[in-house]
Symmetry: C2
Subunit: 244 residues, 2 copies
């Protein structure tokens, strides 16, 4: 028996031995989930001590969580006076989409050339998990898996310092879409969209891949946030930048 396992049994393990995650990470996801699902609305304030109680951890750990969420742009810290949940305007969401398309087009072009069989399999697996999440009507998991798909693909482009920006934009777009949608029933087209995208990527044509991911993003917005699509069209009238 290894020393590691022994110490966990001997002196009361503080973390769940089953899922070896850091407490701070768990707390981060818990709070982020609450924000993304609109369980805590924009404008509401978090208090470090209270969250610490609710999540069974210390103030310092919560502090770290709120710091991370601030960098994600999901909360605003007002030193000594609490941390409030931020809001995303449609103008901001539209800009996030522009940035996202800029980044992911480049990413798709790059990835197409270097992507291997193993990654394609991983992407397919994520897509299958997504079908499962859709069947369970679990929007949050859908949103996480969607980001995982796009981030995994982009990771192949080997532009690591852009990954946090992409992740951040995707996060804001998901929140905007979810909080503003009339109805939000996940549907199987999610997975099918990604599978179609994978087909094109496998064809190894960089330009086609870039075009394909752009139209993928466009379709999703058209379907779930038509008002955001209108905003994008309005913008393009004034500055003539290409969406797809």
């Amino acid at each position: 028996m290894s020393r590691h396992a022994k110490s966990q049994v001997a002196n009361k393990p503080r973390f769940d031995p089953l899922q070896n995650v850091k407490k701070g990470d768990a707390a981060y996801h818990a709070v982020r989930r609450s924000i993304l699902l609109g369980h805590t609305q924009p404008g509401e304030t978090f208090l470090e001590q209270r969250i610490a109680e609710q999540l069974n951890c210390s103030q310092g750990t919560v502090r770290e969580v709120l710091l991370r969420l601030e960098q994600d742009g999901l909360v605003l810290r007002r030193g000594y006076r609490g941390t409030v949940v931020s809001t995303t305007s449609i103008q901001e969401a539209a800009q996030m989409v522009e940035i996202r398309i800029q980044i992911e087009s480049t990413g798709a072009r790059q990835s197409t050339m270097s992507i291997g069989r193993d990654i394609l399999a991983e992407l397919a697996a994520i897509t299958n998990d997504m079908d499962e999440a859709v069947r369970n009507l679990d929007f949050y998991r859908c949103s996480e898996l969607d980001r995982a798909f796009h981030m995994t693909l982009f990771h192949q482009a080997a532009l690591p310092s852009l990954e946090p920006i992409l992740n951040r934009c995707a996060l804001h777009i998901h929140r905007f879409t979810y909080l503003n949608a009339e109805e939000m029933e996940p549907e199987l087209s999610f997975g099918d969209n990604h599978r179609a995208l994978l087909e094109v990527i496998q064809s190894r044509d960089p330009a086609a891949a870039a075009k394909s991911i752009n139209s993928h993003i466009g379709h999703v917005i058209e379907r779930w946030a038509p008002n955001l699509m209108e905003e994008l069209n309005r913008i393009h009238k004034h500055e003539s930048a290409p969406l797809r």
Copy 2:
């Protein structure tokens, strides 16, 4: 005498009474400065305890600092094994420029319409401080004031959730430029460029302002990182997106 001042005198103030800044902020800027100036090179690792000693603060405070720097993309945290300084490739820098132009064009268009006399004065003041920094050959302060100028201008666009992204891109571009430049003597053209930009903004023509800020960014890159400009041109050959 206020209670605040009294308590500071009575029981040994922990913070410098002269500049009432939070210790964490001071530490953040100290470490960031060290990275931006290349004083600590990409690949070097930070240890929380050591930094804490050097900066005369506790490990927890340093932790917070490194967390922030990770979100800035300047370091990479490898849990339990130290925090290493990241690097920025020319491809990444080029993408950052694209994003920056995307954001700042929109910002300039918006700001032009809502900007007031007070903000114009503040921008002019920042520009004057920059002249001073140039005279002192203080590159870091130049870089900070340049970001302050652009961020102050963009703040008027009222798109707060995009501000951290812009700041982050500007940060990376500055670092790339500084670490890759042959010579890096600040020169007075910095301030003059900004003054010319202010002229155009005062004319209240959104399209002109957007065009002007694009060419401003272009000029700066052309002057200080010609190889980055080449990379941008190479990109545009393939995807036909407008730089200026």
